[in-house]
């Protein structure tokens, strides 16, 4: 078991003929992900790398391949439309990698996807990986190893850092999920924590948050009330100045809210382990399992 993706996941790639889409499709195929189709309007009928059929629309792709998952690499100004197209075509799980999607676009996309009953991960996220089974997105496969730690994070490379430290310490992962650094995203920490709690193969969870918003505080309250499995948390941005956007659109302390200190306090009062450094995850998780 795992969360959100496993070996029954069949994927279409939106933007498969683009530079990023093409590169990562090859990486996903190498990892063993079942890529059943791609979509680039105007390039329908071609094949990618002589193996993956390309379609003009997501509807056509879904009809022909029965894909249940989509991963999106289209440019930011077209990403909202691509997400809605996927949801409308019946895709159940949509992973939007694209960084830089205008946030007002997301205010329209989010309720649309909800009403279609689909799950959106991202945008501005690295995707997810269930080691040894499937990866959808851009997380480098070789730093992961199968195991029973669930990993969820708002960032990309920080996730890789922690996963790398866990793997080096011999602690494998059930699924690693990057929820993305934008202020409005499809899947939040609580969605992932609930899924990890229900997943028999996950024994403990590593969670990496950052400054901005209240997602981590709400996640801490969820851990306290609903989780039996141990959770260890980390907050990036303890040295970030207020009022500045720290790379991620969502990583900003507004006024006095969204600080690292307030999030760490929420973790502590929920009885979670608090990692002060990425390396601390190893010992804190080990002590709780």
């Amino acid at each position: 078991m795992s969360i959100f993706i496993d070996d029954s996941t069949t994927v279409i790639v939106q933007g498969i003929t683009g530079r990023d889409g093409g590169f990562h499709t090859k990486q996903m195929l190498e990892y063993g992900t079942k890529i059943v189709g791609g979509v680039t309007p105007g390039k329908g009928g071609q094949t990618f790398e002589n193996t993956v059929p390309v379609f003009n629309t997501v509807h056509e792709a879904v009809q022909a391949t029965k894909a249940n998952t989509s991963v999106i690499y289209v440019p930011p100004m077209y990403a909202a439309d691509a997400i809605m197209e996927a949801a409308d075509a019946g895709i159940r799980f949509i992973v939007a990698i694209t960084e830089g999607v205008p946030v007002l676009d997301m205010t329209k996309v989010y309720p649309f996807v909800k009403e279609k009953g689909a799950r959106l991960l991202g945008p501005n996220c690295p995707g997810l990986i269930t080691p040894g089974k499937s990866k959808v997105g851009i997380i480098p496969g070789r730093i992961c190893t199968p195991g029973n730690i669930g990993v969820v994070s708002r960032s990309g490379t920080l996730t890789y850092e922690v996963v790398y430290q866990l793997t080096r310490a011999g602690m494998g992962q059930s699924t690693c999920v990057g929820i993305g650094g934008d202020p409005i995203n499809g899947t939040n920490f609580i969605d992932c924590l609930a899924a990890f709690e229900a997943d028999p193969d996950t024994k403990a969870v590593a969670m990496m948050g950052e400054i901005g918003g209240t997602d981590e505080q709400e996640a801490a309250a969820f851990v306290k009330q609903h989780m039996k499995k141990p959770v260890v948390g980390f907050i990036a941005g303890q040295t970030a100045p207020p009022g500045r956007r720290m790379g991620h659109a969502g990583a900003i302390i507004s006024g006095s809210s969204g600080t690292a200190a307030e999030k760490i306090e929420a973790f502590q009062s929920a009885g979670m382990g608090v990692a002060k450094r990425p390396i601390d995850f190893v010992e804190l998780l080990r002590a709780r399992m």
Binding site: F23, P76, M77, G100, V101, P102, V103, L104, M106, T107, K108, Y110, P111, F112, P126, I138, I139, P140, I143, S153, R154, S155, G156, T157, L158, T159, Y160, E161, Y164, G181, P183, I184, M208, E210, I211, G213, T214, D215, F234, A236, G237, Q238, T239, A240, P241, R244, R245, M246, G247, H248, A249, G250, A251, G255, S256, A260, K276, R277, P278, I279
Partner: protein, 381 residues
């Protein structure tokens, strides 16, 4: 991206929001001429991207053009929260009977723009929210349908009893919402929205922040960017496609990815150092980015050591290594550099660095500790 009050007012005026006449000036003489033209009492207002302008003495009333000129000579050139005032707005001073607050902010919790209105205007709305939350009405708007007239009217009735004023305020809400959506704003506020003794409803101050992610579809807004209001190194970084924020410490950080960049700064602090900056070179493997990053960081005289922390996923570490070699060949470093890299093409990167006389580590904690020790003038561990 923040825009100035006068720019925000131009946008709102175009949407039909009633705003007293005003013009911008950069010299006291211009201020005098504008004050003469407007006639009567005027307000001279510093145009800087920071709050608390009034408290800092950056907003002053003038009874005559001569007084306006004198006030302007004091405001122009003054520093407010570290920012120099180069421009002032001269605007007709309105008589005020009551002050209200009207704003739209993107709310992460509801994933919608939320209207916030309060009859307690003219002061910091965060303070009102903390002390007297019952004086604020919040209304999330579904952007698929937009602000409906009945909602605008509900907001108006929260502010006023008199139907005429409610209608005027509702019309302003509709205009403010239009401006928010058309300009991809993340914040649009009128504070204060005043009622004059004659019963007129007017916007006296306006603030708009634009979503950086949407600037590609708003070339007209990009033109409003005031680079004199920003840290020069940050302007340079943005023009080089780097995300850079200057801080006060002495450990210059070059990192790929925003989360890892923040975690690296935090680790510098954890080991007793102070980060000099936030810098994310992004996911692409362009050696040019490394060259630009080094140029920007070494231009800061307070930086005593450079710390690279690269986790190669999409980023190829050999590209970063090549960037370091190229940059230091053209501009030899005068301060020590500590390099941590791991991930994609790590072996090639290490070889490139060694052949060019650099040492590198694959461990983040080790590298950060070494950089902090060097910044403190001690020897590397």
């Amino acid at each position: 991206m923040n825009i100035h009050e006068y720019q925000a007012k131009d946008i709102l005026r175009a949407e039909g929001v009633p705003i007293p006449p005003g013009e911008v000036a950069t010299t006291p003489d211009q201020v005098e001429a504008i004050a003469k033209k407007i006639g009567g009492m005027v307000v001279v207002k510093a145009q800087v991207h920071t709050g608390g302008r009034g408290k800092a003495g950056g907003v002053k009333l003038a009874k005559t053009p001569a007084e306006a000129k004198e006030i302007a000579s004091k405001i122009l050139g003054m520093k407010i929260n570290g920012l120099t005032v180069y421009t002032v707005l001269v605007t007709s001073a309105a008589d005020i009977a009551t002050e209200a607050y009207v704003g739209i902010i993107l709310d992460r919790a509801t994933k919608k723009p939320v209207f916030m209105v309060s009859p307690a205007g003219g002061i910091d709305i965060e303070e009102v929210a903390a002390k007297t939350p019952e004086k604020i009405l919040k209304l999330p708007i579904d952007t698929r349908y937009g602000l409906q007239p009945y909602q605008a009217s509900e907001l108006g009735f929260f502010l006023f009893d008199d139907v005429k004023k409610v209608r005027a305020a509702s019309k302003i809400m509709m205009s403010l919402y239009q401006a928010f959506m058309k300009n991809d704003a993340s914040l649009a506020e009128i504070n204060p929205l005043v009622v004059t003794p004659a019963g007129e409803v007017l916007a006296l101050d306006a603030k708009i922040s634009v979503d950086d992610n949407a600037l590609d579809r708003h070339p007209e807004l990009v033109k409003l960017r005031d680079e004199t209001a920003e840290e020069p190194s940050e302007v340079d970084a943005r023009n080089s496609n780097l995300t850079f924020i200057k801080l006060d410490g002495d450990v210059g950080c070059v990192v790929n990815g925003a989360g890892l960049a923040m975690a690296t700064m935090d680790l510098v602090k954890y080991y007793g150092g102070e980060p000099a900056n936030f810098l994310d070179i992004g996911g692409s493997s362009n050696p040019e980015k490394v060259v630009n990053a080094l140029r920007i960081i070494t231009a800061d005289p307070s930086v005593k050591v450079i710390l690279f922390n690269i986790f190669g996923g999409i980023t190829r570490t050999d590209d970063v290594a090549n960037g370091i070699v190229t940059a230091t060949k053209t501009n030899p470093l005068k301060i020590p550099i500590v390099i941590r890299l791991t991930g994609t093409n790590e072996e090639i990167a290490m070889k490139i660095l060694q052949e060019n006389g650099f040492s590198a580590s694959s461990d983040m904690d080790e590298a950060v500790q070494k950089a902090v020790a060097l910044a403190k003038g001690g020897k590397a561990a």
